[in-house]
Homo-oligomer: 368 residues x 4
Amino acid sequence: MADLFWPGDERALTAFDQGSFLETMVEVEIAWLQVLRKDGAPVLDDAQDWELVTADDLDQVALAAEAGGNPVIPLVDLMRARLRERGASGAADWLHRGLTSQDVMDTAMVLCARAAAGGVLRDLDALVASLVALADRHRDDVMIGRTLTQHAKPITFGLKAAQWLQGVLDARDQVRALRWPGQFAGPVGLGLPQAAHASAALGLDDVPPWHTVRTPFTRYVDALVATTDALGHVADDVLVGARSEIGELAEPAGDGRGGSSSMPHKQNPVLSVLVRRAALTLPGLAAQVHLAAADTRDERPDGAWHTEWSTLATMSRRTLVATSQAAELVGGLRVDTARMAALAGADAPADTGHTIDRILRRARENTA
Amino acid sequence: MADLFWPGDERALTAFDQGSFLETMVEVEIAWLQVLRKDGAPVLDDAQDWELVTADDLDQVALAAEAGGNPVIPLVDLMRARLRERGASGAADWLHRGLTSQDVMDTAMVLCARAAAGGVLRDLDALVASLVALADRHRDDVMIGRTLTQHAKPITFGLKAAQWLQGVLDARDQVRALRWPGQFAGPVGLGLPQAAHASAALGLDDVPPWHTVRTPFTRYVDALVATTDALGHVADDVLVGARSEIGELAEPAGDGRGGSSSMPHKQNPVLSVLVRRAALTLPGLAAQVHLAAADTRDERPDGAWHTEWSTLATMSRRTLVATSQAAELVGGLRVDTARMAALAGADAPADTGHTIDRILRRARENTA
Amino acid sequence: MADLFWPGDERALTAFDQGSFLETMVEVEIAWLQVLRKDGAPVLDDAQDWELVTADDLDQVALAAEAGGNPVIPLVDLMRARLRERGASGAADWLHRGLTSQDVMDTAMVLCARAAAGGVLRDLDALVASLVALADRHRDDVMIGRTLTQHAKPITFGLKAAQWLQGVLDARDQVRALRWPGQFAGPVGLGLPQAAHASAALGLDDVPPWHTVRTPFTRYVDALVATTDALGHVADDVLVGARSEIGELAEPAGDGRGGSSSMPHKQNPVLSVLVRRAALTLPGLAAQVHLAAADTRDERPDGAWHTEWSTLATMSRRTLVATSQAAELVGGLRVDTARMAALAGADAPADTGHTIDRILRRARENTA
Amino acid sequence: MADLFWPGDERALTAFDQGSFLETMVEVEIAWLQVLRKDGAPVLDDAQDWELVTADDLDQVALAAEAGGNPVIPLVDLMRARLRERGASGAADWLHRGLTSQDVMDTAMVLCARAAAGGVLRDLDALVASLVALADRHRDDVMIGRTLTQHAKPITFGLKAAQWLQGVLDARDQVRALRWPGQFAGPVGLGLPQAAHASAALGLDDVPPWHTVRTPFTRYVDALVATTDALGHVADDVLVGARSEIGELAEPAGDGRGGSSSMPHKQNPVLSVLVRRAALTLPGLAAQVHLAAADTRDERPDGAWHTEWSTLATMSRRTLVATSQAAELVGGLRVDTARMAALAGADAPADTGHTIDRILRRARENTA
């Protein structure tokens, strides 16, 4: 909910945190149990099902996870014990039948990833709206274009905002295109007869087992990196524009935002700094998920799979935080058009309307 | 054409090597010059145009590239000098008019990437065909499934081949979906009036300037990594199956293939080793291209852009080499079904036909 | 204390976790306050100082960290409020005087890193002792040497253990050589007059300000990666030796260790899998810390510094966990010398004593 | 000698390029042959030895390298054929006796790395001298210190130069501390009796076989990254100081240096851009070498080793280029102290002499 090492983490709420992942695994096991009713599994009543295992049980499950190399064995043990306490020993017997640990982990990760992607999309939508407005509003506000840090020729700030928008639209396309398959493959990936039913119950795609083909996760992290790539570009430009000597842009003033522990007068572009932070780290983390995909041997690999969990969770939360921060940053960005004009000098205004309009058109088509 | 540090590099022929990149930049400049005829640029005759600057000029251009930070200035200088030598000084004056270095570099990189992707696709098609045949042929050949290095439960080798196929199909989808835009943005990205015409002349998509939005390249490297991820998975499984104690799989015997400098009797699974090599390095290289995208400031960034060129070229060639090696490996893979059966023991045959058929159906639909 | 996404995390206890980092920052602020007594700061009595801010305050501080981009401002605010509650308003006024946020963060990170390195060293010492014993005990136990997965020529298991030992000794040398400097640089790195005194109070080296020169952290992560490199090598070899078809090595049997959720009879080499997991991820994380060092601009960089905190903490804990797991793995490794001999065949025993003795001699010299 | 994709590559001359690597492998084979004279190998006369295989044979050897997975088999074949042509068939018979491919590759890589490190050290020495002079000359030249892109408090430019110097000294210490061992381990790493003699002949350390313990290379790349980390920091600061609005720093004017293909009046800080380029890519490449070290299985690993060669060569050349560029950049850096003073405003001069002197003292002690 908050992370001393990653300020702003609380913006991601509980998305893909340990507690929600635990509860999602429970959701998968219960969904599977319900699917097994066709095969004879008993029906749970609400009292038996209700908060069977929750985030409060996190430590107990996590502490017992090392022995089997993943948390599913202790989770199933705990769920069975609770079911028996609640008089549902038939259900306890049926629980997890046919599944392997990886089915539960993978499906829960897909569900958590889908939820995180939903949050990212909401903030990207807000960002698109803000950028459309910004590009439109500043279509004629001339500023100097800079290449390799040097003044080059005039552009407009609307064009710069439209470029930011292009990156965000590209990222949004990629997030929107993601697919969310269930994994009900069984111990060595034969595929379980009830897989289609279970996937449907969780709103997931029914596809063949993919326990050794990690594309759902590599595409997911590619989309997250595409997102922070786009946001990093925005942050970098704001950080230049906010430099004391340049002063074209300023972050939205917030409650204590941008303060310094030693120089109270100073206003730091904190949101941009924190967005940039994410953009610097996501590429390397995505590489780990790809390496895991590439380093797959046997019907379950000997270490690669185990690197995915923490990396997926961390990337999801960082992207959520960065997208939220970027939406706030762009939504409240302060633009000093007079300063822009002054720095651009007497140069004739740049003709950027055509390019801006093409990009805005794409935004409108994608949004409608 | 051959690389002492990357055995097998010659499989990529001249794809995205320095010479072909140089010639592709020349192609871009000439295409642009032709587009400018509408604005009054003179028409070149064949003798003036013919091999104006070629791979033979590589050293001259490369050695002069540092001063401007990229090879376009010396290339344009050389082209102009040659044009004048050939009596085309009007063309020399018009050459490169309106363009910026990045236009030429970016468009040439897109063209080289498109060519490399075409080569990758051809080998992926061959790989798909081989894998379809393999999965079909071995649909009833039982072998032991292994998880975390240990014998688990029986599968069939057909299922394993079908899993390999899934990864390759995922990669092929991603390569097929790539788009190839021209970049004719001008010095600060206003977009040049002739951009649509120039892109069309080169068979490229006409999109707004993307000089600060590097999605065409990040998606390209994502697709390359998806490819080597899929191939690494195959290689890892072959390397296990080829272990002396296991002996289920063997690489195709080739001319001197797999030899050892100290133990002439030994047969090493060299293709798999070399494919795996690529799969271990592509994720980290892709991360560099994403970092470049994220670290974009101003209308041309101060170093990030410059990291793309070598990385894109290296990744392209390594993927071409790995795909070619994997196609040869899978095409000639020797499968010892008796050994598989012996290791699987008396266990009942696994029912894998349903899953195999689903995956084969997808392959057939995608190929048709 | 336990991490659902990183089974075994509890082995690292509270090392470099958020709570201990918070308390370490408090320790730095209090040490500084004591140093300021020479300048007139009041003396705190035990009741005023005692558990002023603890891990229980984590959420409050972390939630307020985003505004300033780091947790020091809210921490100092909270410490001041508590001091005033305890009647130490003079101390509240003096608290943090002269310091900048980075001083507190950097010094606290050094202290946490030093503590983590101490834990790593303890487990490396245990590992060295086990490996020395293993190499010595098996100096004449012949096994087949394997190259590129194929049987090559005989070695002894003692030689293999001695190779593992070499890597561990190299890593230990690197961890031992680390230096731990204090950071008392002030807002722009002029260096504070009381720096030497404050560093001494915390047992840290007194060096010039290094706020923009991140060598203490890059060397630290290099040493951590060297450690997981060495452990990954051990794990990889055990994973090969433990394969069902090979059966030369087995992990120590533990309470439920290596169990499977679907196949109760199966014994998975879980420790090796989990050690390998760390070894696959540390290189990429170290690259992030180097990137932060390289991407330093101004007297405090605009995002790079902010990427260090989480990465350093994660790397520290993962290395502690992996070293502990490796020590347990090697300490209880089961070696089937008969199986080794059988697989090596009739070949003459290998003469490995000389090489083993050289490596053991180094171990003994380094340990004495 | 020049690389279109990496402008400035020619600064590295032939260091660790394919030709010099080939010739270094020849050097290793010949040194070994000479060592074998004690065992009865014939003495070569100068005519037989002279340019037996050279960089001109590169293509032939490289094209034949794939079959065995590395270039040693075709190299030895070629050397034998040439020796026989020159009437030295006895030597041809003795050539490579006892060695394995990895011995030749590893030892040649160590020799190439040592040569590259020597070149890096020479440029680092020049850089240290320039930075010492810069720090000293500008010890009283006040400029504004900046944190998080914003004006903070005054420093001196001497202090900034001294900070740059600290990073360079740290890197130089690390490069200086590198050790260069020979590898004469034989096919499975037993260690060859003549190893000590052969290492001595090549000026290399005699250590036990390290074929599966890659510390010599991981420490080497750590030192290279430490170098580009330090240089990246310098480049980043110059890029800020050279911004059009800031104008405190300018790169040395060179022949056509910093030109633009579209805006002839523009002066780009090209050296800084190109140095920064290297600093952005080295961390990820070093991670590949660490991953190779960590992913070592058997007595020769199945792909990890093969990733080292290209990565080591690339990193070596990029570091040489960057160090040379940085030395030129700093050696001719133009400092506008009046502009610095103007931007710093009326603030009292900062007291930085003490910190500068501490750092200069270290430089002098290390250099003497």
